[in-house]
Amino acid sequence: MLRILFITCLGLFGMTAASAQDITDDEVQARLQSWHALSGTFAFEQVRELAGFSRPLRSRGELIIEPDSLHWNTQHPIATSLHIDAAGVHQIKNGERTSIEGSAFVGQVLLAMLQQDYDFISEHFKTAVRDDCIDLRPRESYMRDHYQQIALCGDDQLQRIEMREADDSETYISLQEVIDA
């Protein structure tokens, strides 16, 4: 009797989990589609909490989102400029562009997050909806070497990105649209 009850519970749990996953996937897509697509110039603030360090690293600057690329200009505490596209992350110094080798995947992830590219996200991450956030967990081991989890959060558009790296370091990026005067 106990065995039948256990199997029944297990079956019901499985069905619930399966339907929850379907709903979650649909919700993720709906949530992403409900957000306004990001385009133009945004002010960002980044807080990085390194594992084992009590003092967080704060930086801020400007982010320019274009259809196929991003310009990430850190202004404080140091000035640095990065161009990010599907081919990877490129450093801009004195007008010259230097590619960071092996950064293609990181570049694609950043681009997909900021452009809310559902196809890319669902291909590479398991997704779930939590409060006002969409949680992304890498599907492949190589990606897990970079990120344990990423959360895309916001009400009517993407406002915050939370990234937990492989060594438990955490990075929070908040975005605010810059409206030209």
Partner: protein, 749 residues
Amino acid sequence: MNRLRAPQLWVGLAWLALLLSLFITLPQSTWSTSVTAALPDAEQDWQQALMRDGQSTRQVTILLRGHDVGVLENGAREIQAALDTAISWQAPASVASDIQRLYRVYAGQLASAEDWQRLKTGDMDSLLERAQQRLYGPVGLGGVSLQQDPLLLTPSFIESGAGNFGTLTPRANWLQGEHQDESFLLLTGRLHFNAFEQAAALEFDNALSATISRLREEYPDLQIHRSGAVFHAVAAAQQARFEISTYGGLSLLAIVLLLIVMFRSARPFLLTGLTLVLASASGLAALLLIFPAPHVLAMVFATTLIGVAVDYSFHGMLAVQRGVAGFKAMLPNLRLGLLTSLIGYLALLVLPFPLLQQVAVFVGTGLVAAYLTVHLLFPRLLRPGQLRSTRGVQHAVHGLARAHPWVVSTPLRWLLYPVVVVLLGGLYVLTSTDDDVTNFHQSPPALMAEEAQVRDLSQQMWSPAMLVVRGDTTEQLLQREEQLHPALGALRDADDLHAWQALSRRVPSIERQQAVQRGWREQVNHPAFAQYLSQLGLPVAAPTTDFLTPAQMPGVNQHLLTTNGERFSLILLQLPKGSGEPLQALAQAHDFAEFYSPLHSANETVAELRGHLAWWLMLALVLAWLLLCLRRGVKVSTHIVGYLIVALSCSLLLAQWVQGSLNLFNLVAALLVLALALDYAVFITSRVEPHDVIKAVGLSALTTCLAFGLLSFSYTPVIASFGVSVFAGVAAALLAAPLLIGQLREKEK
């Protein structure tokens, strides 16, 4: 006819044993199709070990493009499943993951060559600026501990090419890339078998082709391109098989037709067939007994046996018709022809060229077997007067025989020497040579195009040339490689080198790892560095005594070689076309390094062999002259040598005209022309009945011209070269035969 005497019985038994050995060796035989396998062994042990190892020949890369990623992934999965038993597929994500994890453990002691220079010169500002950009930028630290590596040297080391796949993204079972806004997948793997094992290679190719056809039916836009030595090996083997069967079949057909026209009887055809079968089987048996993996090209070149064996059987059949005395009178000439031909092949056996040695063994044994067939079997299988030529042939032969007195009465034969002088002058002035082994074989254009597509997108294709570093220990190899890093970097900056991959770029020497961790710790009092550490509140970790070694790193075997107790490391290069000289100069400046290009080395070997062969050709002429002097006298022998020079010169000059230059295989062909023309000359200047000589030499030359004329249409350049040369030489020998007729008459007087 008499019963066999004791020596003949023993020879016959030995011959039978040789033939019976085929039943054991043939089913187990493996055939090589690699061009390098046909070439001489490399000079040094490590070079031989490198060629034997053939790591690169097992590599297979398959590119999928032209569709969305979902379809590409389905296709990739199907291909991997279909070939799973024949190949170990690379799992890039897991490899990348293992390497990343390994590097993290040794963070703070691994630095790129550029960062090492900065540390050495105390350029802390740029190192600190780069570290801060990383800390405050969106790209993570890759799991590297900041305490262990405050300057973030190790993420930079990884990104400099140590632990990634360039711009390609490692996925679980393939690499993914983008090109012109289009995704592509690359499957890479290593074959479980040698690419030149024909049966396994063909099975693999068939399985892949079937899967590709099925996928193309399902997804018409899907493009699948292949790269790997195995595909070229299969194409070469199929081409060789097609050519052997086509040209062999056509030659056989031509011989059958000629015999029917000449004799209107099946007996000559059966006897000639018997000679050919026994000669070929004996040649094959000897070949398989001596060489464990003979080359398919050897069989193509061995078709020359057809011409000589047919010649022997015609002489035999026609002599049997003259009775015992006529047959016995013919035999010494056949032996003299055999002996002089064997001298030519002896030259090939002495040369350290596996392909030519195989041709020599096959044809040499085949010739002896053809002689034995004629000597031992023909008198027992054919009776005098049993063969009659057709009336047309009789008329033609009588007509030619009637021309003898006219030929003798004219000073035609004295034209020989001026002709020899003119032809030798032409050879000296007009000929040039080409020893590029890449011209010896030509893969189908479609396969070459596929290879180019994969090469463009995979970024993993290395030139055949490499830098080889010698050392007593692995640590010494790594240290010596590191000595070359600055010069290699400078060559890359000067565009003399596109890229290079060395073990020391993935695993620095322990000496370098110690120096790196000592180097940045020594700078902790540098004002900017001290401020950086203080701002971050970063304590500096104690130095470690644990170092990364090559034994821990997956997939580094391709860079290391040990042979006869000596250790070598291989630096792979991507060279712009034809730019080996700066690398050669770099190697010469370091006594532990050597620039090695298998192709360049093979070209040099071929050039050297061509030189040797030219000398052997001249020596064979001298030996033939000496041998002939014993039987024909000095004057006739000198005239024969003049005749041989005419045949050889025509062979080489026509090849030069058709190809634009001469190669090694034209000289091999010349050696065969020498053997055939010598045979003709021996009989033309013999006491054998002129009608029989005209028939036998004419038939032999016609069949040989037909067989080798067909070879000149071969798609494989070396086979075509060979065909053109033999055709031209034998045709010249036939046309120049009247120049010898006077010698025959003079001898008879």
